[in-house]
Amino acid sequence: MSAYIPYITHIFMIVGINIIAVTGLSIFTGFTGLFSLGHAAFVGIGAYISGILTYYEYTNYYVALLAGMAGATVASLIIGIPTLRAKLRSDYFAIATLGFGEALRVTLDNLDITNGARGLGLEVHTTPIVLLFSLVAVLFTASNFLKSRYGAACIAIREDSIAAEMSGVNLFRTRLLSLVLSAAFCGLSGGLLAHYFSFIKPDMFMLVQSTQLLATVIAGGMGSLSGPAIVSLVFMSLPEILRWLEMWRLPAYGLLLVLIMIHRPQGLMGYRELTDFFVIFKRREKGGKN
């Protein structure tokens, strides 16, 4: 049994790191209703900024993680302020984020400090304890955010942006806040990832990865934190357990997107959380009205 522990730990690490990024995108896409094809770029910014800081020994690991989050936040403001203010059509907005992601890849490929396409070799700092702590912190703040006036504003915008405005919601500021928070989570995920795999290169943060994140959120359910987390668990751990699946992971993501759009646009969990089911279950046990 003990021979399996490193293996299980590894799966926990990759799933946990992925769930942090997926939760970030969930807030933006699932709860605010805006689609992004560039969120892997925020993961990449977090990975590179924190990676560069530890690689050249500017700061320690923890400061580097925070700096990665801050960097992703700043990047989200740069792309978010002009595009969200312009109130683009939702598909044009998705395309603008795609362009942003591609521009970042070119940048990473060509800077000296990032060591270009060859990538950066880093030390391993992300321990299971650090990840566990980050994961709990992210899920805690995300669910608090959604219960607050800001979260209510995001959901209102997703449901009906005009009615949201007539409920006192500032469209631009709420959308921007949602983007910034989701980018910060993705940036954290990037920093954790860089110091777990101990190696980063630009093509780890491309359109394919952005699409994967989006597929996970859509498949899990737009408007649910637990749904995307479950999908992330399945999609990250299955290819690890069954090695031959690895090659088919990306085709499967693609196919999944198409099938979900056609057959179940609300995703696995729809607009519910796992906890909702526990509540229903409890009520049934008590023999309550519902």
Binding site: T141, N144, S148, I155, A164, E165
Partner: protein, 259 residues
Amino acid sequence: MELLEVKELSRNFGGINAVDSLSFEAKTGLVTGIIGPNGAGKTTVFNLITGVYKPTCGEITFDSRNCTGLRPDIIVKTGISRTFQNIRLFKRSTCLENVLTPILQRKECSIVSALVRLGSARRIEREAKEEAMSVLSAMGLSNEANRVAGTLPYGLQRKLEIARAIAASPKLLLLDEPAAGMNPEETLSLVDLISEIRRKFNLTILLIEHHMDLVMNICDHIVVMESGRLLFRGAPDEVRRNEKVIEAYLGKSANKQKA
């Protein structure tokens, strides 16, 4: 005293004046009705007052404050809220969440305390929830609090939309065809409900409606529009007797019946 004053308001869409130098007032505490044939520009007036559209020219003064061309969310905060002709609820949220949304937007809560959900954030949440429940029960919806809004029957959806508008704590409430799609019984109970919430929440009401009995029953003052312009305004009795109105509005429907 005038709570809302609309002066020379115009809005042009691609060369057509949907609203054409329209002026009227809504007096504090009264119910003012806007009537007119389809396409007269009534809903456009609502959209201009609430900032959904920007006026081409003209001035809107609310509570002695110039509100012309402000953003909708700012206008809501000055004290105007509304319902929509084609119901716009947050369909996949519960009734409680629908009503909670505008209440939460009125509460100050910094982003940091929202993220860590400190004691103060919890207190705000609790207060907001109580407030939302009291609004729901005023509208007779407390039993539906946890129901998903999109699954409510049509009549209740209209009520829920009014509840959400009240939850924004307005001084002026704009109702866009609140009785549309209701049967005569439901319309009658709506009349009672509107008078009740008016007293309870101390509201001034501006409403668009096609049901003439409702309008004549409930309104203290009526504004008649035709092709974006003001045709006539006055008390219900005066409107009923006015020849221009009969010709343009009632006369048309009389002609329709003949044809």
